[in-house]
């Protein structure tokens, strides 16, 4: 639905967020102390890392997971849960 078609216009003076999913462009990568690194050779495309990422920082492509380092906060759930050790961790340069 386009904005002018919306039945609810909001109250004057009270801001409403009009763009869905706009937080994706916020950089949370600076929270990270370690970063996940994906190794394509060991990956079995089981989708476990993609499903368990709490920040939706892993996008699914036909070639397997793709890490979005702009959103990744470095919780390392993907590294811990990967059954084939295709995800490894690497220290961020400080």
């Amino acid at each position: 639905m386009r904005e002018e078609e919306l039945p609810y216009k909001g109250i004057e003076g009270i801001p409403i967020i009009k763009e869905p999913g706009s937080a994706a462009k916020v950089n949370r990568g600076s929270w990270r102390l370690v970063r996940p690194v994906h190794n394509r050779d060991k990956c079995t495309k089981c989708k476990i890392c993609y499903t368990y990422c709490p920040d939706a920082a892993i996008n699914w492509t036909p070639d397997g997971p793709e890490i979005n380092l702009n959103s990744c906060k470095g919780c390392m759930i993907c590294v811990e849960e990967c059954p084939t050790d295709a995800m490894t961790e690497e220290k961020e340069a400080t």
């Binding site: 869905p20 937080a23 994706a24 916020v26 949370r28 990270r32 759930i77 811990e80």
Partner: protein, 301 residues
């Protein structure tokens, strides 16, 4: 309806993006991401004040669905109102979902939840249970299990146990409202999303309680979020079951439970719990599990 079979065939779309202000490894945030996979963008999420209120911070939101925030007491009333409004407009496909913490469910918002459940409003209530008032700094709530340390029940010389009261059995209370009530875990996303699908198709109130591991409050390494959720199920601290029309069904049945020590030793909130406290907690867990096994497939409430 055919349910999901494995993680591989869960829906691929995400209606949740990164960039929120939740902690790294946040359990409830992962729960919302998974829930939106099934609910889709045609959803109004009603939120009671809590950790998840901080997800959409002006001018950014990680959600691709609508969001209403209301006070901690009346999320269920707001949702019921939204449902009635949508029905009047003829928009019956829109989902109305409450996403509220355990403080808003067990304690402060219990009256409005009970009213909405009694009137059998067509809404889905998801409680992300982090077993405390997490957003204000981990204070005791009636969902806090025996033996857990919180800010308001600290361990000391006179009270080495921490929380000395036993948490209330919310599923039994909700089951007694004659609605669909189920527990879910982040470590079993297929089970969670199948239950959510079931709730979505019902013409009435559904209550799903999700154990939302809290890295800051439970005091563990963020990478352990899924492992701790899995251990909670395997140790019997968080059994997975559903109650419909008063009949209990275990979703994950184990012939033998693991000892709870494995679950406790990963978390800072149980670190100084003395051995007699651990033994007492084990007895409580075994009692609850025994009760569930006994009533599996039978009338529970």
């Amino acid at each position: 309806m055919q349910g999901f079979k494995s993680i591989r065939n869960l829906p691929e779309q995400d209606y949740f993006t990164g960039g929120s202000s939740a902690c790294a490894g946040c359990g409830p945030s992962l729960g919302l991401k998974l829930a939106l996979k099934v609910l889709g963008p045609e959803t109004i999420i009603v939120n009671a004040s809590g950790c998840m209120t901080l997800l959409p911070l002006y001018p950014n939101t990680p959600l691709k669905s609508s969001w209403i925030h209301n006070a901690i007491e009346n999320a269920s009333s707001t949702a019921a109102g939204a449902r009635h409004g949508l029905d009047m407009l003829g928009n019956e496909d829109m989902n109305v979902v409450v996403y509220a913490g355990d403080g808003a469910t067990y304690d402060i918002g219990f009256a409005s939840l009970s009213a909405a459940a009694t009137k059998n409003e067509r809404i889905i209530y998801i409680c992300y249970n982090n077993q405390s008032f997490g957003n204000t700094g981990f204070q005791w709530s009636t969902a806090t299990p025996y033996g857990s340390e919180t800010k308001t029940t600290p361990r000391g010389k006179n009270n080495p146990i921490g929380t000395t009261v036993v948490n209330k059995n919310m599923l039994k209370i909700m089951g007694a409202h004659r609605v669909y009530a189920a527990t879910a875990s982040l470590a079993y996303p297929v089970d969670f999303l199948n239950k959510l699908n079931r709730a979505k198709e019902r013409d009435g109130f559904s209550y799903i309680e999700l154990l939302g591991s809290c890295t800051a409050g439970w005091n563990y390494d963020p990478r352990m979020t899924i492992r701790i959720s899995k251990l909670a199920v395997r140790c019997g601290m968080w059994p997975l079951y559903e109650i419909e029309n008063g009949v209990l069904t275990l979703s994950k049945d184990f012939s033998e439970l693991k000892r709870i020590d494995e679950f406790l030793k990963l978390q800072g909130r149980y670190r100084a719990l003395p051995q007699d406290g651990v033994d007492r907690l084990q007895v409580l867990v075994n009692e609850h599990w025994g009760e569930l096994k006994e009533y599996n497939g039978h009338r529970y409430v």
